[in-house]
Point group: D2
Chain length 341, copies 4
């Protein structure tokens, strides 16, 4: 078989580990050959390919990013896009496709499968918000990067008398904030799933200042106050209700300073959560995902996504995988609340 | 309630995170008070205690080691040991005990429970070889430390023409070697569960030298050759069949040099796998274990051990937890073999 | 002798290492005793002290922050402040003072010395902009943190087609940006010492996009465009000519997007550059500074600051140390320019 | 000009950074072209070359190892070796040579220069024992790796009651042990320059066990006891007086256990000190060395080695650079002794 591979959506540590595992097992064990499509769905849409063999994947296991490049090109939104992809796959003699990506990429994979394309999906999101898998690779790396930052903020918080805010990724789901905040010993964790009460946040800040430690607040970029608080003006929230300008971290700092009279400073981790070498957990998970994905192709088991359940790598239907976001359940947030204040 | 806490056995990153979670939730939410027993079972055996309150656990979350100290004292092997512990607990007004430790510590906990002591166990082993839980804290940290070392060895292997051997922990189970080797891109992984064929190992080494990369071999300290190989002399294997002198890594290096004529060097990570700050994964797991353990005590649910199953923290019987070692199953080793050579 | 110790100004990894070295050598070798003043000059001003002996400094070597606390209290700006300090020192039986801090803290030390107080200074600034010493501790740590972030941005830059901007500390001197940018392989480095030409920056960005790599720009927070560029409106620059709102990183991203039509994203490292465990270089430097400072006190050599010259720790007059900022000389910037674009 | 580049001797983080700087400035600023010689002096000896242009050095700055490969081939020890190199350089149209390496490599460079070859040297040794330069790249990385390991050992030492020994590199000079031990807060540091008294070491160990902390001993691989101690048998010391079998760390552990009755465990860091990504300090130093080396070639200033003096990169004669080892002076060791015990 001749199998195409592509990576779509935002950067995520572990993409290269998946590609390597797919190619190594596909060539060595199953005897398949591979073609790489560049920049996500743009590759098959425009017929932009690159060679992909054992030599091409040497040494990429520990490297962040993706040797195939990525983009947010969505063929569904392009007139005749899906047909164009089918034509290009046929013209290139591509028998099957492994699509590595998040909700959007897998949604396209699902539609292509429904139209007869032989496709297997590999879930990818640093936000960990994909249904049907316990974890996605990249998440553990992002959490560790955030925790390392929070550890560093602690020493400053202990020595100076300042509230320190760390804004982490998570537009719709608070997994990174929850795990990083819990692991980092944050005094408050704010997530999109639960609008926060600014009065309560400030009460935590003030009670903390009475000890010799200063407060550290971990806030997901998609967190927001309960309606009516923090006097947001028109245009400062976007259509999801997220803070638009300067970010919620910055806005929170200003509000805390105003209400408590204490200095507050914000660190915005941004893209450093998405890059660099993956943790051991993510390398193992990505490698095992890749092995299972090529096995699924080899078995002729299409329309599936590989997933982690407990310690097993399983296959689930693409439909199940993409039907809704996995957000933080209340019970998990309550665990963390024990340590607030 | 007045609750005793102790930590037994070898060092393991995350012990302090468990202690903190137990005390924080126990005091703040449930209103209990605590007493720390020093140095594992030596503490209750000799009545050696230390204060353990919210102040005592401040700032310990990211710190390796254990503020309670540890030891390998086993009261079962001491005449009247178990009775002495029961007396000391009664004398100190201790209503229940949380024992954090590995197979040995939990085995004692089981026996004490059978004799009427109210005890809850928290599993701890960097080797990840405890039954009934998907993972134990400390394991992820150990694997990451080993992977960082292997990453460093790669650049030397690429630039010089040497076989590099990394010996990691794992006397009876190869989990650290398996995960670190897979994440580190090792060319061969040797684990206790599967005696290795030195001819095959040397064949991998030689085939690797034909590329511009040199081989990296990850070996668990408990790995050993198939019977009759490597000309081991009387006294070089202990009663488990493990290499006794200098370690298997050192012995393997000598054997590879002798058979292939290539230089081979060994790094023995030793205790650095057991110390230092835990990874985010281990901090979250240890914290959640602590929360569940104190809830079990509060619920009066004794004779149980907390465990990770999927993403949930559950309670399992101490008997189930301690009945046998969890070793690497053949299927997991076969996954890794795809990348050998 | 009874010697007071204080730490002033912003957080800086290595402060605790200085304190430990001062106390360990002072007590063990010279037989002095110590008192800690809390929160910089606020301590002697208000007579707020804490015990400082060998036990108090145990285990603090690797820890960021300062066990003494810090503040920006400036007794010179307080009516009768300097006299109040002299009184409190006399009342507390304090024979000499070791003041660890930056330009402001050492400026106060200089004035106190001029008024007869026996004081020795230890230089501290993560910005590395203090005259008379080759390096200050904290700088190496800050640079390494920034480089780790830049390394992570590279993988995203390679896989996606975006300009990535990393804003680092350095309000008046570009040392962190220069070293981090050079070590991180940045395509452009912007420092306060040299106003940048936005046209040239955009030309670098565009030329880089023609390769398969995307540009990474490291910008010191105090960097600014040449006069008249980037259409800054009234109020967007402060009295030093620094960008006020959102930061120069954010503003640069917007300008690059506007001019090149490419996406640009900013990471603001903020306080994580100031906290956490010091690098080996900073621990050794801070320890040697502490040893030299207590020797100076013991020798009765007051009015001096300890300094690094080559591999030697020497003593220089406080006046020399504080007379002007050490900014990046043109030759060092030209070295880095070789790699631009 | 057509310029050859080679890297000789053991692995050292920063080699690639030197190569990149040489080529980038050589091509972009000076307009030279380059050829890479493979595996140190073996390359010019056998005429084994590889292309070396701007494309070849892209992305190598943060990577350990050397893209040119290395070896310990010494042409001086080969009959007609130096003449063969001259012939091959002439035949390949190579006008000048940049040799990056340690004492041996630079010694060959010196002899070639004496025989009319246009050569510039770049010093490389993780041991930091080269004369005429304040530091060599690779040393800072090695020290940081060792300190990270020592930090991890501390938590085990605090929680268990064991002496922990960390063996680091340094066969003839104790720089890594001195800096790592000082930065890591070791209780004893043993270096080759000063034979140790095992009675005194054991006294430190015993006094430390009386506190709640256990001792950590950092030992350079070349350290050895004063004559007559530790009952070394014939054949256990090599011709330098270094411990031959198992290493000094292992031997010290046994001796401490025998004399004090306490458990002692050894970690041997080995090659992980030599590999992996360089620290920021080493990347900047290596880059600046490369820039100065290509400038020297461009200036026609041959027979020199680049060196760090204070914060300046200078040129010194190859003769001066290679005349003797730079060992730890007594004053630096006495600084560290303040913290012993």
């Amino acid at each position: 078989m001749r199998i195409g591979v592509l990576t779509g959506g935002g950067d995520c540590p572990g993409l290269n580990a998946v590609i390597r595992a797919v190619v190594r097992k596909g060539v060595t064990v199953h005897g398949h050959e591979f073609v790489g499509f560049r920049d996500g769905w743009r590759g098959p849409l425009e017929g932009d390919t690159m060679p992909l063999d054992v030599q091409a994947v040497r040494g990429i296991l520990p490297r962040g990013g993706t040797i195939l490049g990525s983009s947010r090109t969505n063929p569904i939104k392009i007139d005749g896009g899906v047909e164009k992809i089918k034509e290009n796959l046929a013209a290139g003699g591509v028998d099957a496709l492994i699509a590595i990506g998040g909700e959007d990429t897998l949604g396209v994979a699902k539609q292509l499968f429904d139209k007869g394309v032989k496709v297997v999906g590999v879930p990818k999101t640093i936000d960990n918000d994909l249904n049907a898998t316990d974890y996605t690779f990249g998440f553990d790396t992002a959490v560790n990067i955030a925790v390392e930052a929070i550890d560093r903020l602690h020493t400053t918080a202990e020595s100076h008398h300042r509230a320190l805010i760390c804004e982490v990724m998570g537009r719709h789901a608070g997994w990174i904030a929850l795990h990083a905040g819990m692991a980092g010993g944050a005094n408050v964790i704010l997530i999109p799933e639960k609008p926060f009460d600014i009065d309560r946040v400030c009460a935590y800040v003030e009670s903390r200042f009475k000890t010799r430690y200063a407060p550290i607040i971990v806030v997901a970029e998609g967190a927001h106050p309960v309606e009516g608080q923090m006097a947001l003006q028109a245009g400062e929230l976007d259509s999801f209700g997220h803070v638009r300008l300067g970010g919620i971290g910055e806005m929170l700092a200003k509000e805390i300073e105003k209400r408590t009279g204490k200095e507050a400073r914000t660190t915005v981790l941004g893209h450093i959560q998405r890059g660099g070498t993956p943790t051991a957990f993510d390398r193992v998970l990505a490698t095992r995902f890749g092995l299972q994905a090529i096995d699924a192709v080899h078995d002729g088991d299409f329309g599936v996504m590989v997933a982690l359940q407990g310690t097993d790598i399983v296959r689930v239907g693409l439909a199940e995988a993409t039907k809704e976001l996995k957000t933080v359940p209340p019970g998990r947030y309550e665990e963390a609340e024990v340590f607030f204040g």
